[in-house]
């Protein structure tokens, strides 16, 4: 290995990717730790992953499907919201778990050197595992309800990746800010909840009044939700520009998150 030159931090700089790559074992071990802890400690660990989206989808079916009697593109309302929850939980889960990760591991950050972005990144692991479990349930539901999503299901990995990237971008920035401002931890869940209701997860775009439609048209998360339902349920595909837009948004958000992270990374040990 060559020599390593350390100099004072300059304004904006890219992460040293070679270093991140060399420390990939840390990513894997952290991810494994989260998964092991989650599923070993709680007997309900696995059950929770299934129960949570099932219950949420059930409640939304009652409220939006039965009480408000909203349309769902001809799908059973339960299946419709469950597919939405699957996509949303991926995005929201990554944000929720990555944001507090740096503060939760502050003793590490202050005592050993490693590319710290691996800490928030590793939280995506346990979210992905949860997703896989819930996806298994989704397959069962598709069979039960006799819905065939068609070839669009092949695009699912793309949407999974984009949801994780979107979540990680926000999570990286939030975890960085949280080091300095602890109240971000209170604001974030509230923002996520607002975002949840502003995005067609539990209801469909059909139910949106025409004069408000633009609000949803500019929300990349609603593009993502539409793409999920297209892939999982075979509903109408969103316009191509929206699909590409999700990818664009994911890249922009991830880059912005990285920049915020990179700007403050080298001060972590001094602040924490």
């Amino acid at each position: 290995m060559g020599r390593m030159i350390v100099t004072p931090p300059k304004g904006l700089s890219l992460p040293r990717w070679s270093e991140v790559w060399e420390a990939r074992e840390v990513l894997w071990r952290f991810g494994l730790r989260d998964v092991v802890l989650r599923y070993r400690q709680t007997v309900v660990g696995v059950a929770w992953v299934i129960i949570q989206p099932l219950m949420s989808a059930g409640v939304f079916t009652i409220i939006f499907g039965n009480v408000a009697d909203l349309p769902s593109g001809g799908m059973p309302y339960f299946l419709f919201t469950f597919a939405g929850m699957l996509g949303w939980n991926l995005f929201g889960g990554v944000v929720e778990r990555s944001a507090p990760s740096l503060v939760a591991n502050q003793s590490l950050v202050a005592k050993v050197f490693f590319p710290r972005m691996l800490v928030p990144m590793s939280s995506a692991f346990s979210v992905l595992i949860d997703f896989v479990v819930a996806l298994g349930l989704m397959v069962v539901l598709l069979v039960v309800f006799g819905v065939n999503p068609g070839w669009a299901i092949l695009t699912l990995p793309i949407w999974v990746m984009l949801a994780v990237l979107l979540g990680l971008g926000i999570g990286l920035a939030a975890s960085t800010l949280l080091v300095r401002y602890r109240d971000v931890g209170y604001v974030l869940p509230w923002l996520l909840q607002l975002l949840f209701f502003a995005t067609p997860v539990a209801y469909s775009l059909e139910a949106v009044p025409e004069q408000l439609e633009w609000l949803f048209t500019i929300n990349p998360l609603s593009w993502l939700m539409e793409s999920y339902r297209w892939a999982l349920l075979g509903l109408d595909a969103p316009p191509l520009w929206q699909m590409l837009g999700v990818a664009g948004a994911a890249i922009v958000v991830m880059s912005a998150g990285l920049l915020v992270y990179q700007r403050f990374e080298r001060e972590f040990a001094d602040v924490i």
Partner: protein
């Protein structure tokens, strides 16, 4: 291209304490503050932890870093291990740096011994292949093989520390940085750890060792640095560094007289701490008189603790007032006299470190007073100095034939 283990050029680390933003740790406050004073530039108090330090460390050295409290030892190590970034200057590292700033960093209580070895190893910079190759050695060295599948929260503290140290001791990085971890573990384990570090240096790796205990530096290191208020005032032989450390006592004492520069919260600070007999013989009792002001606003009672330290900074005796059931009421001023009996000090210079404590430290006055023990030996027969060289203290002893 250099061929040193570590080269450092004009390294400076400044901690900036934002005066106005002190205490702003909420984003809402930060935004409000920005709206209230949109044009004011933040003002900072600067604290130079490391100042203009330059050195080259060749391969295969075991370098001790010594200095008094707050001299910047730990900051220097944090810079070299890249935990914190320099403000100015350059660090040029010839290889990977493994750090051991605190044993057990990254250990998770719910994970098993095996899982923690992998997690901790990865954090310290080992690849999976390296950990796998050294796994058996690590387990052997720690002696916890029976409990590998047990969560470490069920470990005794000794087992925990042994496992943690073993992982770190098997790091294969070219440079190894250690901050006083040898203070932990039992005597046998400490000896094994010392041997491990010696062999690391013998293999041509470079070891950096920060310590308050100068005698371990003597035992372990081939060269040493002495840091004084963030500046490198000596880099060379271990003896030279220890000499510099001893010589700094006088100026350090002057500094410590300024109560604001001492450690502790400052709610109660000593008015004075004096040894009544500046020169004494080894068998004399040491009497220390302490004056403490009244501090009616401090709730609860407090205790005091005096350490007798030798000229290398090693603590010879701790006289804690808790041990004899003495607690003091802050409502009143106190004049306290401590008598240390039955301690036969070797000839040399000693200092008293006095502390006022409750839950935390209120005042900690290092080298509050010094005294000399005269070169007399309280034994019936005069003999060569060889007879007294080893050992930290003298003692009353006899030999009898049966």
């Amino acid at each position: 291209m250099r061929d040193t283990a570590i080269s450092v050029e004009q390294l400076t680390k400044v901690y900036r304490i934002n005066r106005r933003a002190a205490g702003i740790d909420r984003i809402t406050d930060a935004v409000v503050d920005m709206l209230k004073n949109p044009l004011r530039r933040p003002t900072y108090d600067e604290f130079r932890a490391i100042q203009d330090v330059t050195f080259d460390i060749p391969w295969g050295e075991a370098v001790g870093i010594v200095g008094r409290n707050g001299a910047g030892k730990s900051t220097l190590l944090k810079l070299l291990t890249r935990i914190t970034a320099p403000t100015e200057g350059l660090i040029d590292l010839g290889g990977r740096v493994g750090s051991l700033l605190e044993v057990g960093t990254g250990f998770h209580p719910e994970l098993t011994g095996r899982e923690n070895i992998y997690l901790n190893g990865a954090l310290l910079g080992m690849t999976r292949k390296e950990i796998r190759r050294r796994f058996d050695e690590i387990v052997d060295f720690s002696g916890v093989e029976k409990f590998l599948e047990t969560p470490v929260k069920r470990y005794s503290s000794g087992m925990y520390v042994r496992l943690a140290f073993s992982v770190a001791a098997h790091l294969e990085t070219e440079i190894l940085a250690i901050d006083e971890v040898l203070a932990v573990g039992d005597a046998e384990f400490q000896a094994r750890s010392l041997a491990k570090m010696r062999s690391a240096a013998a293999e041509g790796r470079t070891v950096l060792y920060v310590s308050h205990q100068l005698h371990t530096v003597t035992a372990l290191c081939s060269s040493a640095m002495y840091l004084d208020k963030g500046r490198l005032s000596h880099y060379g032989t271990v003896d030279g560094a220890l000499e510099a450390y001893r010589e700094s006592l006088a100026s350090f004492r002057v500094e410590q007289r300024d109560a604001s520069r001492r450690e502790g919260t400052g709610e109660i600070r000593f008015d004075s701490v004096q040894v009544t007999q500046q020169q004494q013989s080894p068998t004399d009792d040491t009497v220390v008189v302490m004056r403490l002001p009244a501090a009616p606003h401090v709730p609860g009672s407090y205790f005091v603790s005096c350490h007798v330290e030798d000229h290398n900074g090693a603590t010879i005796a701790q006289c804690d007032s808790r041990a004899v059931g003495e607690w003091f009421d802050p409502e009143q001023a106190h004049e306290v006299e401590l008598t240390v009996r039955g301690l036969w000090l070797k000839p040399g210079t000693y200092s008293i470190k006095a502390s006022v404590c409750q839950n935390g430290i209120l005042d900690s006055w290092e080298a509050a007073d010094v005294f000399d023990v005269l070169p007399q030996y309280p034994y019936p027969v005069q003999t060569s100095d060889e007879a007294f060289k080893a050992g930290l203290v003298l003692t009353d002893f006899s030999y009898e034939r049966s």
